[in-house]
């Protein structure tokens, strides 16, 4: 099925990141970019969106994706990576998981905020247009969230998600089914 052969193909023509669009002035110049830069151009934004869905805020998502790119670059330097996108995606998922774990620890040790104070996340999520969806995602377990986002947002087949998350296909099916059941009531009023 064509739906599963690429990673969000409908978004592959998404505009470049502002930082890079300033550097690339003509198509010829873009031809000269090395593999790594091409990887950035093609996938940075989609991976950033994936990270936003997984960690729930923009700043942390940026950190996660930048770190993933740096790791991939280091890996490419050491030896060639066959499927760089798969490696990047896995790095993003793993780093998002680590970020959520660190956040839990921080929350456990942080002092309680004042009742009327705005949370730091509110400012960081300005680019996220549907906060209620993000909030609903944050209320389901991390594994279920990863499975459902990779399946229904990134259009990955279950086998690939299973490989990426290091579990069986059956487990992925279970995660997705439970996530859909839990998201039903959470997204009930959302149009």
């Amino acid at each position: 099925m064509a739906r599963h052969t690429s990673y969000k193909p409908e978004s592959s023509n998404a505009p470049l990141g502002a930082g890079l669009s300033m550097m690339i002035e003509s198509p010829d110049q873009q031809q000269d970019l090395d593999d790594f830069t091409a990887l950035y151009v093609r996938h940075y934004e989609q991976l950033l969106r994936l990270a936003v869905l997984l960690v729930g805020d923009m700043a942390a998502a940026e950190d996660v994706v930048q770190e993933a790119f740096i790791r991939v670059h280091r890996r490419i330097e050491a030896r060639p990576v066959h499927n760089q996108l798969a490696y990047l995606r896995q790095a993003v998922v793993n780093l998002a998981r680590s970020e959520l774990r660190r956040r839990l620890v921080r929350l456990r040790h942080a002092p309680r905020p004042m009742p009327d104070a705005a949370s730091a996340e509110e400012g960081a999520c300005a680019a996220i247009s549907r906060q209620e969806v993000i909030h609903a995602l944050r209320r389901i377990p991390a594994r279920q969230r990863e499975a459902v986002v990779l399946r229904y947002w990134a259009d990955l087949p279950e086998a690939e998600i299973a490989e990426l998350m290091g579990v069986s296909v059956g487990a992925i099916k279970g995660y997705i089914s439970r996530a859909m059941a839990r998201l039903g009531p959470l997204l009930e009023g959302v149009s």
Binding site: P15, L16, G17, A18, G19, L20, M22, M23, T37, Y40, Y44, E45, L48, R49, V52, L53, M58, A61, E62, Q66, E67, F69, I70, H73, R74, A127, I128, S129, R130, V133, I134, V148, V149, Y152, W153, S177, M180, A181, L183, G184, P185, L187, E188, V190
Partner: protein, 160 residues
């Protein structure tokens, strides 16, 4: 009361897409990534240099300690300092390395400077220097490790 039905895949896909459709890479992201790569590369190089330096230093210490007659050989295995060899006969008086009034007096009386001065005093250092001085002027008489042992030892015939 009936529980709400699970969300449909199509609806979920649409909601997820809408949620992040406005997310774009902020300016300067690529530069930050390149900066991060460069910083890590330098950190790795400095780490490698420090590791090599530590390895070299460790190797040098090992060579010094396992040299025959070195520190690990113990006091018994080390031959007495070649003071007597250098100043064995009254005629072949020590060179200026010996120095000091006691040294000159000892040379005049046929004694070594070590015998003339009390153990553990400054002549011990001179003794080590004397041991280093080559009898024939070309070959060093002892290794540096041996000098370290000689410096730690009380001077004079008592220790031998």
């Amino acid at each position: 009361m009936n529980a709400p039905p699970p969300v449909s895949p199509e609806r979920l896909a649409r909601l997820l897409d809408e949620a992040v459709s406005q997310v774009t890479a902020p300016p300067g992201t690529f530069d930050r990534i390149r900066h991060g790569i460069r910083r890590r590369r330098w950190r790795r190089r400095i780490g490698a240099a420090l590791f090599s330096a530590a390895l070299l230093a460790g190797g040098s210490v090992t060579v010094l300690t396992v040299t025959p007659g070195g520190v690990l050989a113990g006091p018994q295995a080390v031959a007495p300092p070649s003071v007597s060899a250098a100043t064995g006969s009254p005629n072949s008086a020590p060179t200026s390395v010996t120095g000091g009034a006691a040294g000159h007096a000892a040379a005049a009386s046929g004694m070594t400077s070590a015998e003339a001065e009390p153990p553990g005093s400054m002549p011990t250092v001179r003794q080590a220097g004397l041991a280093l001085a080559a009898p024939d002027g070309d070959q060093p008489a002892v290794t540096s490790a041996k000098i370290i042992v000689d410096l730690r030892r009380p001077a004079g015939p008592v220790g031998y």
